[in-house]
């Protein structure tokens, strides 16, 4: 495994007149939890989308696990970016089973374990269209962790969760980190950053600055 899970070099992302990422250079050490704080519209989500290959940088480069990010190819990253979406007519378990069938790295048992870890019942037959927002977010987290990726990109993972849910997910993220996952997350809650993160960055108007 590379020393740095993600290396961003002079990343610039421009949308016509707006600069969303302003020459960002940062290296996220593997095996740690990194937090990014910032106001709405500061560029956090754009940053995550560029790391995942969903957006192309205007200039600069991003390496994940020592390899350049190529938009055409699949990546071994677990993600939650913006509100998670699923096939509404299927149950949570069937949704995850469908996604797991792409890489075919995990068994049904591991899918069920992922659901249990986020506090969802794997036997629940309820369609996702009838899930509460909190349940959808938990399912989103289960989707991100089920294949045990080495890198997790989580954009505001605590959104929609109740107090107990936040505590449970924080605990889960710590466990995943102990198991070797590198986690890069953003949050509006200072407590998430304080409790979880080894390093903390602030994104302001596309400029990323380390603050802790």
């Amino acid at each position: 495994m590379a020393e740095y899970a993600v290396e961003v070099s002079d990343a610039l992302k421009r949308f016509k007149e707006t600069v969303a990422l302003d020459h960002v250079t940062v290296r996220f050490e593997a095996g740690k939890i990194h937090g990014i704080v910032g106001r709405n519209g500061s560029g956090k989500t754009v940053f995550f989308k560029c790391i995942c290959g969903f957006m192309q940088l205007t200039s600069g480069s991003i390496m994940v696990d020592g390899r350049p990010v190529k938009p055409g190819t699949a990546q071994e990253i677990g993600i939650i970016i913006e509100e998670p979406g699923f096939i509404g007519s299927l149950s949570g378990y069937k949704n995850l089973k469908l996604l797991a069938s792409i890489r075919r790295k995990i068994s049904n048992r591991e899918i069920r374990e992922a659901l249990e870890r986020v506090g969802l019942d794997p036997n629940l037959k309820k369609q996702v269209s009838k899930y509460s927002m909190g349940m959808r977010h938990r399912l989103g987290i289960a989707q991100a962790i089920m294949e045990k990726p080495k890198l997790l990109i989580l954009d505001e993972p605590m959104n929609g969760l109740d107090k107990q849910g936040v505590v449970e997910i924080r605990q889960l993220l710590k466990e995943l980190n102990r198991e070797g996952a590198t986690i890069i997350l953003s949050s509006h809650y200072a407590e998430d950053i304080d409790v979880l993160c080894d390093t903390v960055y602030e994104m302001e108007a596309g400029v990323l600055t380390r603050i802790a």
Binding site: M55, A74, I79, P84, G85, L99, S129, Q143
Partner: protein, 292 residues
């Protein structure tokens, strides 16, 4: 092999989303309603004469410009949100890669167009029940209408189905149905892929606008054809018309596009637009629609 499985999965996922997509139900209801209205005259004529109509109505449904326009609008409704990216899409793309995902959307359009064509064919027969009777020939009703389009007036019936004498004279019902099925499917896929390609390139509903432009062209070629200099060449630029057998030149008179030209043009256009779609999609930012 893994790529092929990923592509098929990306295509089939869209079918799974049909159950919670109100647009699919709207389209199905609108199609059934339209065919019920369109074929009402046939049923009434059959009841009035006491002669059952044969099930070979499909090749004769889209024989006027207005009906072709209705068909095009249905297909545009079907594929208007191509490339069908929603909040579920990032979870697929991170696992399959962009290339496989967008190829999956192209495969979906072809399969969905086929499914809709089958649906259209089945409903075109179903709406004639109980006045339909199986026969391998065109039957008296359809042959009479082809020879005398105003026959409905004798019974006070407004017939909207126009049976082209060329189709009835040159082809058996089964031949005409198979050819019409192929043309309907191919044109539907063309419209769908045009919308997908245009929407990907413009990042908005540019594809839908392009389809609308072709719809306008198809609406006016019937009238513009005779007015253009040096023949009916403008009809060779109107792919939407090629969904109907009566808008192709089967006899070599030169008033419509030849069938081989139409099929070849549709296939080449579909292929080229698919290549462009894949190339552009792999380089553009992914825009996800806020849809359940």
């Amino acid at each position: 092999m893994n790529n092929l499985k990923a592509i098929l999965l990306c295509a089939l996922v869209n079918f799974r989303k049909w159950r919670v997509n109100p647009r699919i139900y709207t389209l199905a209801a609108a199609t059934a309603g339209f065919l019920s209205w369109h074929s009402a005259g046939l049923s009434q004529l059959s009841a009035a004469t006491g002669i059952a109509v044969t099930p070979w109505v499909f090749p004769n449904l889209l024989t006027t410009t207005a009906m072709i326009a209705v068909f095009a609008c249905f297909i545009m409704l079907f594929f208007c949100d191509a490339p069908f990216a929603d909040r579920h899409t990032p979870f697929l793309i991170i696992r399959t890669g962009r290339r496989n995902w967008v190829i999956g959307q192209l495969v979906y359009i072809v399969l969905a167009a086929f499914t809709y064509t089958v649906f259209f064919l089945i409903i075109s027969v179903a709406v004639l029940i109980p006045n339909v009777k199986w026969d391998t020939d065109w039957g008296k009703i359809l042959k009479t209408i082809s020879a005398n389009p105003g026959i409905g007036n004798n019974y006070g019936i407004n017939l909207t189905v126009f049976v082209h004498p060329l189709i009835v004279g040159m082809f058996s019902p089964i031949e005409a149905t198979i050819i019409s099925f192929g043309l309907f499917w191919l044109t539907s896929a063309f419209i769908g892929i045009l919308i997908l390609c245009g929407n990907i390139i413009t990042g908005r509903a540019g594809g839908l606008v392009m389809a609308g432009v072709f719809l306008c062209i198809s609406f006016f070629t019937e009238y513009l054809g005779p007015l253009t200099l040096n023949g009916y060449w403008i009809r060779c630029l109107s792919p939407i018309n090629w969904c109907a057998m009566c808008c192709l030149d089967w006899t070599g008179r030169g008033e419509w596009a030849p069938p081989s030209y139409a099929v070849f043009s549709l296939l080449v256009s579909i292929f080229l637009m698919s290549i462009v779609s894949i190339m552009v999609f792999c380089k553009k930012d992914i825009n996800v629609q806020k849809r359940r």
